[in-house]
């Protein structure tokens, strides 16, 4: 008869080992290189260049330096109503 503790231990081991092995395999396949690029997948060039009214001037300058001249946001760009510069 299989002791419960053994069955639980095996299942828990499977639960940790299988994902660990999958992650290891993924890493060997190089799926984890360039994670920074992965985090940037959701952005278009315009997202970098929109002028965001809450940003400090220094951030604005840094954004301009990195991505070029800033663009105005559309009305309701941030999910609101009316002009983007009203709260």
């Amino acid at each position: 008869m299989l002791p419960t503790s053994l069955a639980v231990a095996i299942a828990t081991a499977a639960m940790t080992l299988v994902p660990a092995l999958l992650l290891l395999w993924a890493w060997r396949r190089g799926l984890f290189r360039d994670l920074d690029a992965q985090s940037r997948v959701i952005f278009e060039p315009r997202d970098w260049r929109i002028e965001r009214p809450w940003e400090a001037p220094s951030d604005r300058l840094a954004r301009e330096a990195a991505h070029g001249p800033l663009e105005s946001p559309q009305p309701g760009e941030w999910g609101g109503a009316g002009r983007s510069d009203t709260a």
């Binding site: 994670l35 663009e71 309701g76």
Partner: protein, 511 residues
Amino acid sequence: MSAPDTPRFGSVEAARGRLTLEEVGAIASSRGLAPEDLEVRLRADASSRRAVLALFAVALGWLIIGTIFGDIASIKLHSPDFLTRTSWLTFGRVRTAHLHAVNYGWATAALIGMALWLMPRLVHTELKGVPIAIGGAVLFTIGIAAGIVAVLAGWSDGMEWLEAPRWLAGPFLVIGGGLIGLSLFWTVASRKSEHLYVSVWYILGAFIWFPMLYLVGKWPTYVGVESAAANWFFAHNVLGFWLTALSVGGAYYFIPKVLGRPIYSYQLSIVGFWSLAMFYSLNGMHHLVGGPLPTWMITTSIVASVFMFIPVVATAINLHMTVVGRFGALRYSPTLRFVVLGAFAYTAVSLQGSFTALREVNRVTHFTHWTVAHSHVGAYAFVTFVAFGAMYYIVPRLVGHEWPSERLIRWHFNLVLAGIAIYVVALSWAGVAQGLALLDPATPFQESLRRTLPGLWARTFGGLLLTAGHLVFAYHFWIMVRTPERARRTRPPFHEARPVLYTAEAEAARR
């Protein structure tokens, strides 16, 4: 690819239809995109438009219905002779109708709508099988409605969160949900993006996990305490692997997108995803602490509940460090207001959960209103807030113009924020008072009841504020999608960006 149907209200198809190929090219290059990239995003939004708007409309309908059921149930707890004569409205049925309408009706429909919009955007292709997705949504909604009507009529399968009769509602839910999943998986399989953003994992995961959970929960041959284990395996994991997964997936998109900053640490998000899956899945038995189950099962769940610290802190760090220094953005963006607060609520409810699972704390809180308050921090302050934020962002991009009224947005936000704050504080306090009274055998039972009454009245008040907020939002959504063609001329269509708008003179002229 399905051709977009005749556009009505300033839709992106209209915008695109009116622009010549050269103008599309000019807009694209002014945004630093290749023309086909601009096309893709517009096509992605256009493809998901009908399904997403339909799901959002259905979701809001369920939100109103579910909140009203909640109000009725809440009133009955302190004023039990309210609407007491008819069996359809007895507390035990209305409470269940509320739970199903808000979790499987509102939250599920809203988050599926969000997922159907998000997935094409994330994988840079159109939504595949749109009629399948819409058909699935219709069937799923019928299933939910049938389940709720059945429960109100007195036909229930008996386990909490799983009451909808399996042979009546089950086929609709399974086939409907399956069709929606099919559309999503097909879209992912057709993708053209180079990377799989973390939100894609959460959405994929959710659509793999929910069917597995439903199968476990609805398995027909359980006996005795086996059914309790299966019950709370399902009920707890539907929170973590369906509602939370989709909501966290949404938060990981909307927060960086609006802020224009990538997620603080993508490595942490990988850790967060896998550790969430591993630990959350073993939590379920913490609903049965002290109960007639083998102790090892309950201990496993308590330990896993404490280990939840890892994914929750990982996600909290990630989202917080992405927002830090830019909290001013919440003033400008309703999306961020709701999603960031929702993310905070996620951290709070999870830490609260880890804490509540400990035996010494559970001794006080189990069987009390504390648990109900806790569940509303999760399902409302976290999940519902993320869904609100997502809808504020998505709907303008589908109808082609921004929301009509800043005032209605403010009313919505203030009402629901006040409502949930009052709700949670009042009910948590009532729960602790109740629990402490129950622990003392010298204190008569009626005392535990008496001590909860002020909190229950306050909870009704909070719930009415929530209802008001929902009516405001539903009305706003209605006028948003019904805005006639005429009004568009006074308010430029959202995505229609003619190159001339990007010059300084044109901007000055527009102001």
